[in-house]
C-alpha cells in the first residue's frame, strides 16, 4: 500500500470529540443513518445483474487478480505450503508472463518470516492476521504482542479482529481503544480491521462497526475471518463501501475495503468489482483500496483468463492447487 492516506500514528484526530467518551461515541454511531435491509439487499441484487463481457471482463479479471490476498489460515499450514503460496502469488500463471501478481499473501504470524523471505522484493505484500485471530478472545497485551511479533517478522499488513463481544454489548469505546492501540503497535504496517460481519448480523451494526474502525485509524475494513458463516456477502460489502465513500466525503481520507471468505468464482468477483465501481466509485478500483481475501478464487480467475485469451477452458489440473 502507498502513503496517499494521511498518516497518523493512531486514531483520526478529527474525531477526538466523538471518541472522548462512551456516551458521545454511542450517540454518534447510533446517529448514523440506518440501513434498510430489504433495500440494501435489493440494490446488491440489482448490481449483480450487470453483464460484464469481452474487454470489460478482461480488465476485470486482471484487476481482480491484482486485488487477491492469497490466503491460507489453517492450523496445518507449513513453511513449505507458505512458500508454494508465495510462488503462486508472485506468478499466478507461470505460463503467461503478462499475468499480474496478487496483492499479498495472507497467513498466520508465525509464518511471516518464511513468506517474507520467499517474496523478497517482488512487490507482493505479506499480510498477517493477528490479535488472537479468529476469535479475538485474548488479553489486550497478548493481542498487542501478537501484532508486534508479526510486524517485527516483516509483515507489511496486519489483519486484526475486533472484539465482537464488546461491540455487541455496546462497549464501543473499548473496541475503539483496542483498534487504536493495535494501529499504534502496527508501526509502519497497514492495518485491516476485520468486523466479522457474520457475527454482527445486522447492516446497522456493520455500518457502525465500519465507522468505529475508520475513526480508530484502520487503513482497511474487512468483512470476515473466513471462519464464521456467513462470511463476505455482496450486500454487506455494499454497506461497507457506502461507509468508506461517506467517510471520505467527510474527512477526505480514503479507506480500503476487503471482503473475505466465500468468494470463489470469477462471476462473484466481478459482481464485487461492479459494486465497488458503482457504490464507492472508480477511485477504489485499485489493490490499494480493494482486496479479495480468498484462496480458491485465484484459480477460477486464472481459468477464465486463459479461456478469454485462448477461447478454450482448461481443466482444473492445469492450475496449481494451493
Amino acid at each position: 500500500m502507498t502513503s496517499t492516506a494521511t498518516e497518523t500514528a493512531g486514531p483520526d484526530r478529527e474525531w477526538a470529540d466523538v471518541t472522548s467518551s462512551e456516551s458521545s461515541l454511542r450517540r454518534f454511531l447510533h446517529g448514523l443513518p440506518g440501513v434498510d435491509q430489504v433495500g440494501a439487499e435489493q440494490r446488491a441484487a440489482g448490481l449483480a445483474t450487470r453483464s460484464i463481457k469481452t474487454t470489460a471482463k478482461a480488465y476485470a479479471l486482471d484487476l481482480a487478480i491484482t486485488m487477491v490476498d492469497l490466503t491460507t489460515l489453517e492450523g496445518q499450514d507449513t513453511p513449505g505450503k507458505v512458500r508454494a503460496l508465495c510462488a503462486k502469488a508472485m506468478r499466478p500463471d507461470p505460463s503467461d508472463p503478462s499475468c499480474p501478481s496478487t496483492a499479498a499473501v495472507c497467513i498466520y504470524p508465525d509464518l511471516v518470516a518464511t513468506a517474507k523471505a520467499a517474496l523478497g522484493h517482488s512487490g507482493v505484500h505479506v499480510a498477517s492476521v493477528a490479535t488472537a485471530f479468529p476469535s479475538g478472545r485474548a488479553a489486550m497485551e497478548v493481542k498487542l504482542a501478537d501484532t508486534r511479533a508479526a510486524v517485527a517478522a516483516g509483515a507489511d499488513e496486519v489483519d486484526m479482529v475486533i472484539d465482537r463481544g464488546a461491540f455487541l454489548s455496546g462497549h464501543y469505546l473499548g473496541v475503539f481503544q483496542e483498534i487504536a492501540a493495535v494501529r499504534e503497535a502496527c508501526g509502519p504496517a497497514h492495518l485491516k480491521v476485520i468486523l466479522e460481519t457474520g457475527e454482527l448480523q445486522t447492516y446497522d451494526n456493520v455500518r457502525r462497526a465500519g465507522w468505529l474502525a475508520m475513526m480508530a485509524g484502520a487503513h482497511f475494513i474487512k468483512t470476515s475471518t473466513g471462519k464464521v458463516q456467513p462470511a463476505a456477502t455482496l450486500p454487506v460489502t455494499l454497506v461497507m463501501l457506502e461507509a468508506v465513500r461517506d467517510y471520505r466525503e467527510q474527512t477526505g481520507r480514503m479507506i480500503g475495503v476487503k471482503p473475505a471468505g466465500g468468494i470463489r468464482t470469477t462471476k462473484d468477483a466481478i459482481k464485487y468489482l461492479v459494486t465497488v465501481n458503482e457504490i464507492a466509485g472508480p477511485d477504489w478500483l485499485h489493490p490499494d483500496w480493494f482486496r479479495f481475501g480468498a484462496s480458491t478464487l485465484l484459480n477460477d480467475l486464472l481459468m477464465q483468463r486463459t479461456r478469454l485469451s485462448t477461447g478454450r477452458y482448461s481443466g482444473h489440473d492445469y492450475f496449481t492447487l494451493d
Binding site: T2, T4, P33, G34, V35, D36, V38, G39, A40, Q42, R43, T49, R50, S51, I52, K53, T54, T55, A56, K57, Y59, A60, D62, L63, T66, P100, S101, E242, L273, V274, N277, E278, P282, D283, L285, H286, D288, W289
Partner: protein, 483 residues
Amino acid sequence: MDPTRSPGDRHVFEYAPAPESREIVDIRPSYGLFVGGEFVDGRGRSFKTISPSTEEVLAEVAEADATDVDIAVAAARRAHGRVWGRMPGRERAKYLFRIARIIQERGRELAVLESIDNGKPIKETRDVDVPIAAAHFFYYAGWADKLEYSGHGTESLGVAGQVIPWNFPLLMLAWKIAPALACGNTVVLKPAETTPLTALLFAEICQQADLPPGVVNIITGAGETGRALVSHPDVDKVAFTGSTEVGKAIARAVAGSDKRVTLELGGKAANIVFDDAPVDQAVEGIVNGIFFNQGHVCCAGSRLLVQESVAEEVLARLKRRVATLRMGDPLDKNTDIGAINSAEQLAKIRELSAIGEQEAAGRWSPPCELPEHGFWFPPTIFTGVSQAHRIAREEIFGPVLSVLTFRTPAEAIEKANNTPYGLSAGVWTEKGSRILKMANALRAGVVWANTFNKFDPASPFGGYQESGYGREGGRQGLEAYLR
C-alpha cells in the same frame, strides 16, 4: 489494465456492450387482428409500429374499425355463452396455468420484443414485466375454482372491453385478462397503438394454450378503435388504464348504461423522505420511483417531498446516484434507462420541462450523451419546486422529478394530499409508528413504506379521485369481474 499505475490515476471500468440477442424474436412484416381464435385482416387503415430507440419501422399493424369491433365483441359473446361462461372454474384454471407457464417459457422472447417495441431496458422487461405478468396469471388461475370464497359473487359479467396503455404493454394485458378470464368473462382487448406487438404475441400464446376461440380477442388501433370498443352496446364491462383525460371521456361515454367500469388513471405521487430515513435506500427508492421505466409509470414518485433538515444531503446523494444511471440501447443488459416511448410523449415531457425551467425551479441532469436516433430524455431533477408550479401538479409521465421540502409531518401530509390525483405514495422513515400514521393520512390507493414501485399480484392496486376507481390485483381485483 496496467498494474503499475499509481493510485492517483482515474480508474475506468468501462462496461463493454452486452446486448441481448434479437434472434429469439420473429417480428412479422404485418399483423392482423386476433378475433375468434384466428388472425384476420382489419377493415381500417393499417398503421406502423416503430422502435422508439431507433425509429426503425418494426411492422404494419391492422386497425380495427367499428365493424371489426362488432365482430370481435360478437366472437367474445359467443365464446362466453357457449364455452367459457359455463366452464367449471377448475377447468378455466387449467388454461390460465397453461398460459402462465407459456409466458415463462417464452419469457425471453417476450422480454426482447417488449424492449424493442416499447423502448424500455431489457433488465426491466426480463426482471419485472414478464415475471410479474406470469405471476398474475398464476395468481388468478388459483382463484378460478374458489370464487365462492371471494366475497364478490361467482357469476361472470359477460364480455369485457379492455383498453391498455403503452407503458407496461404485456403486464397491463395480464392485469386485465387474468382476472377477467378467471371469473369466466371473455375479453376484447385493445393494446396501445405504439406497443401492440407483445399483445399479438400473447394472441399466439392463447393459440398455443388451446384457449377456446373467442375467449381472448386482441384488436389493434388507436383512439377511434378504443372508443368503439368501450361504447359498444354488447360490452358488459369496461376496464381502462391510461390518461385521466381519456378516462373521463370513457366515464362519460358509458354513463347511463349498464356497463361496469374500472379506471386506472394518472398520478402525481409524493415520495416522502423523513430525516430519520435509511438514506442510501431512500435514494434508491427515489431513483426507482421516478426513473424506473423512464418515468412512464402512473404511480411514479414524481414529487419528492424531503424533510428540510436533510434535503441538502439527500439531494447530493441523489445526484451522485443519478449520475451513475446508464442510458442507451434498451437491449443492452446494462442499460438502466431506455428510450421515451414516442415522439409525442417526448414532446410533452419537453414542453412541461421547459415550463418548469420558466417557473424558475432549478433544473439538473447528469452529463449524458443522448443517442442520435430515437426518442430520448435525460433523467432530470427540478429543485426548489413549490406546490404552485405546474411541474408539481401535472403528470409529466417521464424521467422528471420535482423536489419539494417540508418541515413537519403535518406539512408533508398536506402537500402530499394537495393534488387531484391519489394513486400512490411513498414514506421513508425508520419509525414504524410514523409509517402507520402516514399511511392512514395519505389519500392514495397504494402507500409504500421504505420501498417504491413494488408490485405483486396478491396486492390490490388502484386510485383515489382523478386516479380512477376500482382495484386490480388481489381478491379485491375479482370484484370488477363478478356479480
